[in-house]
């Protein structure tokens, strides 16, 4: 055995070969064992990947998070496409107290300057959270990471906050619903809640089409929840909501709001309601409801007058939600019932006429101021007349005539006829808070009821019901005498629905009643002209007034000297385009003293003004003047223009 470099220098027992074999043997064994272990690791990997045990499976859930992408809510538009409420994405500020830059005072100062708010108001929100976090940290509980600081900001505020760039101050996107509808027709348009879901009014009613479908996103996240990537098929794009064209006409709504407010102020009333309907289609064109704050001038709701104090009772049930937002308050046109009084006579009158129980030219002997019914109940008229035709009974609003005729019609014929007019049942609009009104149940319907109902007592209605029912008289052509289906969406948005109707009375009865009510309007107009009220008279209208005493829930009888004045009118006479119902809640004591509390005095001017302005806006040809009168007026205007000196234009050369 030779001795070579690197080999063993001294030949041991057994020689270098033996030592080398031993080394080789050792190396081979070691390598083999290591190799087996390595191969065994592959087995372990295969086991973990292909057949993980049950305990491990619990930890194998996908690292996925869900996020939703807000679908833009559809706009609420008026019937002509004008925006009432629309959505946009705004930004608001929140603070993560755990990351707010210190010193806190300095950060709050910067933030308050950027937002344009008091530092103290920010401190009130943030410092308590910081203090709580100290306690939570000590207790090992999760810390507060979100403190909302503002609602959605204006653009300049956002820029200012971004400019100062304070650690721990962040933005978050929030949908904002805004537009003229927030104030205009607020009670009807409604509003959305914090989650941008319809809460009141049309926003709630049309939630389904407006909302759309939010997009859904499932993404793979890292350990801090940050998105990494999307797996195939894990994204569904948002489906925007549809715009809804409401039946509201923003301009008519504006007119209605202005005039009801004016009417309520002029009458020193506690409140007022107004409804404008297109009788042809049943579309609600405008609706308003105002309540005046008469704190201190009236006895609060639920209280009785104290000796020596004010005696005027609050007649409108308080609505705390209305103080929060106009849209949040109840819509009294749907929810608050009232006795219509004489406004109800056209409905009873037309049913009696339709049944042949009275002829339009039949003479009723209504002599004296009082008439005693067959069951001994005295009935009085405001304007006593010895006799009058059935037609005049309506135009004169004779309680005695109505009472006499009502004794001829079977109870249930009258009651069912009124049901056909839509009273005592919801309008079908589906507005939240709507009440069906009240008609005495058949079992309790008595002679007394029959008489009372004939002049609008012992019946409770909503202003919307009256507007719908009165449309029966205002529909044109063959549709006259039919009841329209009320609708809150523009007629052309749902083709076909505008044609729906229910015949209540024959065409000719509706027209006769309409002509009888022309006299009512003419009388009302004469009063307005005598008082030189600020009213125009371009259109021939027909209508009916009503004055009812006020009953307060939970109390028996009526409140003395407090009334509900109401008026319903439509026009133009021969081709009515609009029906307007006005209710003035409790005209003031002075109006009562001057007998201006009646519907013809307090509510009729509102109807006249609204119809005059709205019909002009709609481009309806005035019909009050004859063709000859119009020609003469035109001629006078031309002469006046010709006589007037031409002024020099200061800007011309």
């Amino acid at each position: 055995m030779s001795d070579a470099p690197g080999s063993q220098p001294v030949t041991p027992k057994g020689g270098a070969g033996s030592a080398s074999r031993r080394a080789n043997w050792t190396a081979t064994i070691a390598t083999a064992v290591i190799s087996l272990l390595l191969v065994g690791m592959i087995g372990r990997v295969a086991q973990l990947q292909l057949r993980p045990d049950e305990r491990l499976k619990k930890f194998l859930q996908p690292r996925m998070s869900k996020a939703s992408e807000i679908a833009p809510r559809g706009d609420l538009l008026d019937r002509r496409g004008r925006v009432l409420l629309a959505s946009r994405l705004g930004e608001r500020v929140f603070v993560d107290p755990t990351r707010l830059a210190q010193p806190y005072d300095q950060s709050l100062l910067k933030l308050s300057r950027a937002l344009g708010v008091e530092r103290a108001s920010l401190a009130e929100k943030i410092y308590p959270a910081i203090a709580k976090n100290d306690q939570r940290a000590a207790a090992g509980e999760p810390l507060i990471r979100y403190v909302k600081i503002t609602e959605v900001l204006d653009d300049y505020q956002i820029e200012a906050v971004r400019a100062v760039s304070i650690p721990g101050v962040y933005f978050e996107k929030r949908p904002v619903r805004e537009g003229p509808g927030a104030d205009l027709a607020a009670a009807l348009v409604g509003r959305v809640d914090v989650d941008h879901l319809g809460q009141f009014g049309a926003e709630r009613k049309f939630e389904a089409p407006l909302k759309g479908r939010d997009g859904a996103l499932k993404y793979v996240r890292d350990s801090r929840g940050r998105p990494l990537w999307l797996e195939s098929g894990s994204y569904a794009a948002p489906s925007p909501g549809h715009d809804v064209y409401l039946s509201i006409d923003a301009r008519i709504q504006e007119i209605a709001e202005q005039e009801i407010e004016r009417g309520v102020d002029e009458a020193d009333a506690q409140g007022g309601r107004i409804v404008v309907v297109d009788p042809a289609t049943g579309e609600l064109l405008a609706m308003a409801d105002i309540v005046r704050d008469l704190t201190g001038k009236v006895v609060p709701w639920g209280k009785r007058p104290q000796p020596g104090g004010v005696t005027r009772r609050a007649v409108i049930k308080p609505d705390p939600n209305r103080l929060i937002a106009a849209a949040a308050g109840r819509n009294r046109n749907f929810s608050d019932l009232y006795e219509p009084g004489s406004t109800f006579k056209p409905f009873v009158w037309s049913l009696i006429t339709d049944g042949g129980y009275a002829k339009p030219d039949e003479t009723f002997h209504t002599g004296g101021k009082t008439w005693i019914t067959s069951y001994g109940r005295p009935i009085r008229d405001v304007v006593p007349k010895d006799s009058q035709t059935w037609r005049e009974v309506l135009s004169n609003s004779s309680n005695i005539g109505m009472s006499q005729a009502s004794e001829r019609i079977p109870f249930m014929t009258l009651r069912n006829g009124l049901l056909n007019f839509g009273f005592g049942q919801p309008t079908g609009l589906g507005m939240s808070g709507e009440r069906p009104g009240y008609l005495t149940p058949p079992a309790k319907w008595s002679k007394y009821t029959q008489t009372s109902v004939s002049f609008g007592q012992e019946v409770l209605v909503t202003s919307v019901q009256v507007a719908r029912g009165f449309s029966v008289f205002a529909r044109q052509g063959e549709l006259a005498g039919t009841l329209p289906t009320l609708r809150l969406t523009a007629a052309d948005a749902e083709p076909g629905r505008g044609a729906e109707f229910r015949r209540v009375i024959p065409y000719d009865v509706a027209v006769v009643a309409r002509l009888a009510m022309l006299k009512v309007m003419e009388a009302s107009d004469r009063r307005m002209q005598q008082k030189k009220m600020d009213v125009t008279f371009n259109y021939k209208l027909f209508g009916k007034s009503g004055t009812a005493q006020v009953a307060i829930e939970g109390e028996r009888g009526y409140v003395p000297d407090q009334y509900t004045a109401n008026f319903v009118a439509a026009g133009p006479l021969h081709s009515p385009r609009l029906v307007v119902v006005t209710v003035i809640d409790d005209p003031g004591p002075e109006q009562v003293r001057r007998l201006d509390h009646r519907g013809s005095a307090a509510a009729a001017p509102v109807c006249r003004r609204v119809l005059e302005r709205a019909l002009e806006y709609l481009g309806v040809q005035p019909d009050m003047k004859t063709a000859q009168e119009l020609a003469e007026e035109k001629s006078r205007l031309r002469q006046a223009e010709a006589a007037a000196p031409v002024e020099a234009d200061p800007h011309s050369d």
Binding site: M1, S2, D3, A4, P5, G6, S7, Q8, P9, V10, P12, K13, G14, A16, G17, S18, A19, S20, R21, R22, A23, N24, T26, A27, T28, A30, T31, I34, S35, L37, L38, V39, M41, I42, R44, V45, A46, L48, Q49, L50, P52, R55, L56, F59, L60, R63, V220, R221, D222, S223, R224, R226, P227, L228
Partner: protein, 398 residues
């Protein structure tokens, strides 16, 4: 013709390349941008790969037969198996001193409860245990060759070698149990291959085991690791978290893997994903196939290295080669056992894959020594039996 040395070189290079790619994949994070070829080539890992490749090439060109010739290990009076060799004593002292550097104020710093790193001026740092891990192989290989196989059969000649290995390992175990245990195991294999009797070594095993047990019991975090290993689901959010997340990463592979770059656990779920637990990411992204490729490359290196050491004549190079193979293979086994939760969690890197400059360079250099041996002792024998006993250099004049 492809020689064993070439196989080692190619397999090592393949592992390094895979390591660079997988380390980059593991380093992916939200907001860090896309991993591009440019970015990979300009990465720190690519620089370490280049350094490791150079180290391997340089080491492969070394004349190992001459450098490690036992007859040149000092003046004649130092030869013939005197128990203490000044050069080896010096090297041993240097290794001990190196390991003690971690305790020198200003140089050694405590990180995560242990002192493993020495910080050099200029921001550089290295692990003395990483150097000692390979250095002890050199010293023990030299010692065994110098003593000769026959003398190593004596307990008293074995004892210095064991003592040195024990002392070095004890110092390492204090801060890094895994590396210390690895050093002990590799040292034992060298001593056994160098002629040491196994039963004599076993006599000293109880104190060594006792030392290891003491090291475990004296350290709360080691005890926790042992308990977590026994039942990781006991505290899945704390002590068992690392093991469970490693198993989750592997299980996410579901056979075929999620695809390169599409692993999830690297995004903050699995700690140490680009270093000690890189194999879990490989399994998650490349599946069983990827894991098999890694193991196949390790096996290729091991068996090619075995072929080389088998045909080398008995001496320091052969023993060093065995030590290199043992260290390389055992380190891979320990790492894979830890990652697959067959062993308690320990900080030990996967050779040539786990991110780390010192580890890559020293491991590559060590494999380069095997390649150098391949060149020094070419396989020219007609049969396996002659290859071991009749190397060409054995007849060359010294």
């Amino acid at each position: 013709m492809l020689r064993a040395g070439h196989v080692i070189g190619l397999a090592a290079f393949a592992l390094l390349c895979l390591g660079v790619v997988m380390v980059q994949s593991a380093l992916m994070s939200v907001g860090a941008g896309a991993v591009t070829v440019d970015r990979i080539l300009l990465s720190k890992s690519a620089a370490f790969l280049a350094a490791a490749a150079i180290a391997m090439v340089v080491a492969s060109r070394l004349p190992v037969a001459s450098i490690l010739d036992a007859r040149r290990m000092g003046p004649p009076r130092w030869r013939l198996g005197s128990p203490v060799h000044p050069l080896l004593l010096l090297a041993s002292g240097a290794l001990l001193g190196l390991l003690l550097l971690v305790y020198v104020p200003g140089l050694g710093r405590e990180v995560n409860g242990s002192r493993r790193w020495v910080h050099l001026p200029g921001g550089q740092q290295f692990q003395p245990s990483e150097v000692a891990k390979w250095g002890v192989l050199l010293v023990l290989a030299g010692y065994c060759a110098w003593q000769g196989a026959e003398r190593m059969r004596s307990f008293w000649r074995l004892l210095p070698g064991l003592g040195l290995a024990g002392a070095l390992a004890a110092l390492v175990i204090k801060e890094d149990l895994g590396t210390g245990a690895l050093m002990l195991a590799a040292s034992a294999i060298i001593l056994a291959a160098g002629g040491g009797r196994i039963w004599q070594m076993l006599i000293l095993a109880p104190p060594a085991v006792a030392g290891i047990v003491y090291a475990i019991l004296s350290s709360p975090y080691r005890k926790e690791r042992i308990l977590a290993f026994l039942d990781p689901y006991q505290n899945p959010e704390t002590t068992g978290y690392h093991m469970i997340q490693s198993m989750v990463a592997i299980a996410h592979g579901e056979g075929w893997g999620r695809g390169l770059g599409f692993g999830l656990q690297k995004f903050g779920y699995l700690p140490e994903d680009e270093t000690d637990f890189l194999f879990a990411i490989i399994c998650e992204e490349l599946g069983i196939a990827g894991a098999s490729v890694v193991v196949a490359l390790y096996l290729a290196i091991l068996w090619a290295g075995l072929a080389i050491v088998r045909r080398a004549p008995h001496g320091a190079p052969k023993l060093l080669g065995i030590g290199v193979l043992a260290t390389f293979g055992l380190q891979a086994v320990i790492n894979l056992a830890v990652v697959t939760c067959l062993a308690p969690t320990k900080g030990i890197a996967l050779p040539l894959l786990s991110s780390g400059g010192t580890g890559w360079v020293l491991t590559a250099a060590s494999l380069g020594v095997l390649m150098a041996m391949d060149r020094a002792y070419p396989d020219t024998a007609p049969s396996r039996g002659l290859a071991a006993t009749s190397p060409p250099l054995a007849t060359a004049p010294s």
